[in-house]
């Protein structure tokens, strides 16, 4: 049914020129007026902003910005998360001026910058460096220039089902970052909960096949970030640390401590149902689990391997400007408000549970997060502050990150389903090398 041809469409277009005119009047045209990209543009008008979040997420920050800047409106367009990168790539490559500001997945920043899809914002670098929490400045820098401003950051915690642990006679992990549990402890306690308390699963990482979550396993085992070399285009995923981490990950599923067949972000309903002893998830889960009735849960710092490094995932989203935008002056104002102004940055977190990148906003936000789920979420702020300053390790900065992540996701899925970790990582190394050959 989805067969078609440009020629036919074009013929139809020509035939229906009149209809086009009539129909165009029905909709508001995006209006890609030809202009000089790079020019500062008008001081008032309508900014077009594209991202993967629900519109209500950005309503507060847009309202705040519009109130401070009369004459500027911001029109937000949501693109489904799974298609965001492809759609952006296509539209930015076509120099689509109907996007002014867009959300930038932090590890993909270098690939976007290298292809010329971001405006150089280096003149803001000192301001950003001073305004944001540790680690959130560096993720926006590539080839010594700053290409986007940070909006959110993230962390991962160990959530536990208090009722199941109690039934199994397991003392829950402490909230104190100094008494962080090891992965070995988590697996053992989870197993006990399966045997004695009827827990269906021992431990589930939320983003069960995603590099964001699994990088910390390898880093903790001393395996490094997976990419190395002066140009960050050499895969390094067969180090002893990576093999150790992936063997542990493989065994998690082989020994039925965690489920196969459930995708990333489809895992939190299992914890909400009270069937999982431990769950490794993000700050957004504090709000999600807090809203579940009759679920007795607690929170502790993200685990590490015994004898290994304490490493926690971090990073989230920045915002950047499309070089083809004809309204860059307004776009820049919006970015400064959402990132550098503590009030604006805080407003981006009003309708979703996520950590603001701005230091002052971060400090104001912590008590809110601590109180979000009453006693259950108490102490989250302290863990976050500690992790941000001590254990957070961002994803590697490489122009080849997009291909790398896609290949790794497939490798994780195979290992999870029983593939031999070493053999599968070696195969992935070959695939990455082939994919990167054209980038060198």
């Amino acid at each position: 049914m989805r067969k078609h041809r440009r020629r036919t469409a074009l013929t139809a277009a020509a035939l229906l020129a009149g209809v086009v005119t009539a129909l165009s009047a029905c909709g508001s045209s995006g209006g890609s007026a030809p202009g000089t990209p790079g020019a500062s543009g008008p001081a008032t008008g309508t900014l077009r902003f594209v991202g993967p979040e629900e519109p209500k997420t950005f309503e507060p920050v847009i309202a705040g910005f519009e109130a401070e800047n009369p004459g500027i409106q911001v029109e937000y367009t949501q693109v489904p998360f799974d298609q965001l990168n492809n759609v952006l790539q296509q539209r930015l490559a076509a120099k689509d001026s109907s996007i002014d500001v867009y959300t930038v997945d932090q590890p993909r920043l270098s690939a976007l910058a290298a292809r010329g899809f971001l405006v150089d914002l280096s003149d803001l670098r000192e301001k950003v460096r001073q305004a944001v929490v540790p680690g959130q400045y560096e993720v926006n820098v590539f080839r010594d220039k700053m290409w986007a401003v940070p909006i959110w950051t993230s962390d991962q915690f160990l959530f536990y089902n208090a009722a199941l642990l109690k039934k199994a006679g397991v003392t829950p992990p402490s909230r104190d970052p100094a008494q962080r549990w090891t992965w070995e402890q988590v697996a053992e306690a989870g197993k006990k909960a399966q045997e004695k308390a009827g827990a269906q699963w021992a431990v589930i990482p939320e983003q069960i096949e995603q590099f964001y979550q699994l990088q910390s396993l390898a880093e903790s085992a001393g395996g490094g970030p997976g990419i190395t070399g002066p140009d960050m285009l050499t895969p390094a995923i067969t180090t002893d640390g990576w093999i150790k981490a992936m063997t542990w990950y493989h065994d998690l599923f082989a020994n039925k401590l965690a489920p196969r067949g459930v995708g990333s972000f489809q895992t939190s309903p299992l914890f909400s149902e009270g069937k999982v002893a431990f769950f490794v998830g993000g700050p957004w889960d504090v709000g999600v689990f807090g809203a579940v009735k009759d679920l007795d849960w607690g929170i502790a710092p993200h685990p590490y391997f015994a004898g290994g490094k304490q490493v926690t995932p971090t990073g989230s989203w920045s915002w950047g400007i499309n070089p083809a935008s004809t309204q860059q002056a307004m776009a820049r104002k919006f970015l400064e408000y959402a990132s550098l102004d503590p009030e604006g940055n805080l407003l981006t977190t009003k309708n979703t549970t996520i950590i603001p990148s701005n230091k002052a906003a971060f400090d104001t936000y912590l008590p809110t997060l601590d109180a979000l789920a009453g006693d259950k979420s108490k102490g989250v702020g302290e863990i976050l502050t500690y992790d941000a300053g001590n254990t957070a390790v961002a994803r590697p900065t490489s122009v080849g990150y997009i291909q790398f992540e896609e290949i790794m996701t497939k490798a994780f899925a195979d290992i999870r389903n029983g593939a031999d970790p070493r053999a599968r990582l070696e195969k992935a190394t070959g695939e990455i090398k082939t994919a990167w050959a054209q980038l060198r």
Partner: protein, 277 residues
């Protein structure tokens, strides 16, 4: 006597099993759309009758659809699909008439091109086409969404094959009686071709109803969002509202289902008579 009956019963049982295998996931989606979010996965790991039949029915998920952007998106989908069917049928029928009733040089080549056109996946040309459409300021307009669905090779092919079955004597008689080509088209071909028009119309309808890549490229603002995009947008980055997702999927399935049920008789007729002379 007994053997054919056994064979028939076995076939019936197999048929029922196959039907059930197709129905169960749909039933599960319908049931889940009537559940509260918290109970969404409660009966998955330990299947019971509750897995497929809701115990506490709630319409909250459907109510939430109406208040959100989804309602608007469904309306947009209906507008785009209907406009495509009406305009597309006019274009396809006219093209098919030209290819079937009128003789001219290069007709075979032209028909070959039409056949070729629906063998190339639309997705393969979507990206360069989107760049062209953007240059023409057609992004975020209904016209941008409708235009690629209008000239549909398969619809032209279906209609042309059906038109060939209309006796040439009929046309000749009408021409002798003074009817012009447009009269022959409008007063003889179209009234005789209802089943084929329904078949072609459904082809056009389903092409637009399922469209995903194209609207993502060309019509993404909230005012022009189509149903499948709004459905995909429900899958948030950090959390997924499964209740609404299931309810949205049910709505998106039920609408074409109604159209197909209503016109299926014509559709099968058009396929079975296509190409008859």
């Amino acid at each position: 006597m007994a053997r054919p009956r056994v064979r028939r019963s076995a076939a019936a049982v197999l048929g029922a099993l196959a039907g059930l295998a197709f129905a169960v996931p749909l039933l599960w989606a319908v049931t889940s759309s009537l559940r509260e979010n918290e109970a969404m996965f409660r009966y998955i790991s330990e299947p019971s009758w509750r897995t497929l039949l809701p115990s506490d029915v709630t319409l909250a998920n459907y109510a939430a659809l109406v208040t959100g952007d989804f309602g608007r998106a469904i309306l947009n989908s209906i507008v785009v699909a209907l406009a495509t069917v009406v305009l597309g049928l006019v274009i396809s029928a006219a093209a098919a008439f030209g290819l079937a009733a009128v003789r001219f040089r290069g007709q075979g080549v032209l028909f070959g091109l039409v056949v070729l056109s629906f063998l190339i996946p639309f997705d393969a040309i979507a990206i360069p086409l989107a760049t062209l459409f953007r240059d023409w300021s057609l992004q975020n307009t209904y016209a941008g969404l409708i235009l690629p669905g209008l000239g549909h090779g398969l619809a032209i092919f279906l209609l042309r094959q059906f038109f060939l079955a209309i006796p040439a004597e009929l046309v000749e008689a009408a021409r002798i009686d003074g009817l012009g080509w447009f009269g022959v088209f409008a007063r003889i071909y179209l009234p005789l071709s209802r089943p084929a028009l329904v078949g072609a119309g459904m082809t056009l309808f389903i092409f637009q109803w399922q469209a995903y890549v194209w609207p993502l490229l060309i019509g993404t603002d909230t005012a022009h969002q189509l149903g499948p995009i709004a459905l995909a947008n429900m899958r948030g980055q950090f959390t997924i509202d499964y209740g609404q997702l299931f309810a949205g999927s049910v709505v998106l399935t039920v609408i074409p289902l109604i159209v197909i049920m209503r016109y299926q008789r014509h559709f099968t007729q058009s396929i079975s008579t296509t190409g008859l002379k």
